[in-house]
Symmetry: C2
Subunit: 138 residues, 2 copies
């Protein structure tokens, strides 16, 4: 149960870093390893520290504010690996005003030296309004 809480905290730390729009904060929550990967909604796969961090810099450069409300958060742990599956309810502000979107996300975390780091982020856009099937999950 403790490890589950630790993965939940690592997941929250990832979104807090995301909201800062500060690359230094984002660098702190990712494992510095060549096998990290990231799939932003609608983007191709990015693999490795350089491409993944470059993508965050690009997102942060084009965004003025981001606020995440996470719902339907599921947390699983198996040894030194943990994963979360959740819905990001995102309010994002930029040059063209404020937009709201919903993203269905899988995050993977690895434990190194007692600390959990994100190693994989896969977000996919939710186009439709909530369906009855999805409501049943709440």
């Amino acid at each position: 149960m403790e490890e589950r809480d630790a993965v939940t905290a690592a997941n929250q730390a990832f979104y807090r870093a995301f909201e800062t729009l500060n690359i230094t904060e984002m660098e702190k929550v990712w494992l510095q390893a060549s096998h990290i990967k990231c799939i932003h909604p609608g983007w191709p796969l990015l693999a490795g520290w350089g491409p993944v961090m470059a993508s965050w810099e690009r997102i942060f450069a084009n965004t003025e504010s981001m606020r995440f409300d996470l719902t339907d958060v599921r947390v699983e742990v198996a040894g030194n690996l943990g994963w979360t599956v959740l819905i990001e309810n995102l309010e994002s502000g930029g040059p063209d005003g404020t937009s709201r979107s919903r993203i269905l996300t899988t995050n993977l975390f690895e434990k190194r030296d007692g600390q959990w780091f994100i190693v994989h982020h896969h977000g996919s856009p939710i186009f439709a309004p909530p369906t009855p099937a999805e409501d049943q999950l709440h």
Copy 2:
């Protein structure tokens, strides 16, 4: 390296089961556990054995053939957990003819009693043609 091969084999077994369009084959490759989850491209999150298997039955009932060509396959292992990130190049036949699609996918596998089972599948549609950035990964 052996475990990496075993996760690669479990990943291939998942797609072979998918191609059979047979629910019994699909049941063999999933871990029989309440924490399994599945995100089909554009679908809401499905969690637990019942909803996940019902989704496969629904897909199989509406499909006449499926052929997967997997590209850009990345395989990672950490203890009793493994994950793959890949592109599914899918040729799918149904009542309305044959269609081709590309899906960016994360699969998670858990090892139980020496055998690897899939515990999470997250597929998201690729809408755009391959971009230069994506080509660099090959």
